[in-house]
Subunit: 110 residues, 2 copies
């Protein structure tokens, strides 16, 4: 086994990151606009530290990047993670379509 452990871990982190509505909202916002960590924190009914942790989870998943600007840390959307997640789901969709085609073939044969 141990097919491609690095990629598997990467995908674990990616989907785990998406599995929280606050984090999904952060991703949407930082894709459209520019936010510091505290700018984001102001949007949610939770502590600054909690939002900071959410951003860290997104960063580890390559869904956002942080860039220091003065005393602020600007959070930006990172297309890389999103693309990887989409690519995986596209693979699954392809497997599904192959399966449907195969069943169609069997029906055509019979």
């Amino acid at each position: 086994m141990v097919v491609d452990q690095l990629r598997e871990d990467e995908l674990d982190r990616l989907f785990q990151a998406f599995a929280d509505s606050t984090r999904r909202d952060i991703v949407r916002r930082v894709t459209v606009g520019e936010y510091s960590v505290s700018g984001l924190a102001a949007l949610y009914a939770m502590s600054f530290a909690a939002v900071q942790k959410h951003v860290a989870v997104l960063e580890r998943a390559s869904l956002v990047t942080k860039e220091k600007r003065g005393r602020e840390q600007i959070v930006r959307g990172n297309h890389e993670g999103l693309q990887k997640a989409r690519r995986l789901l596209d693979e699954y969709e392809a497997i599904w379509r192959q399966r449907v085609d195969r069943i169609a073939d069997i029906l055509a044969e019979g």
Copy 2:
């Protein structure tokens, strides 16, 4: 707030379900072939009960369905969950493209 709590919870469950390599493998397998719960359990280095729990997580996320056949429970892939997950990532991709277009516009103006 409380935009669409049901959908948010649904998405939480969906991405949470994808955030585990064993579960991703189960989804792939049951999309292609037919497996009972114990048939799946035989594939992994963990207990039957553990696999049973993974299947339950996938079922709650609408990624698989179970169907009783004699004393076996047949697990099958369910396109519904996969589609919903893909749809969300497509939305994010669209947001990203809009952002890129907007930047292009600004550059064109300037």
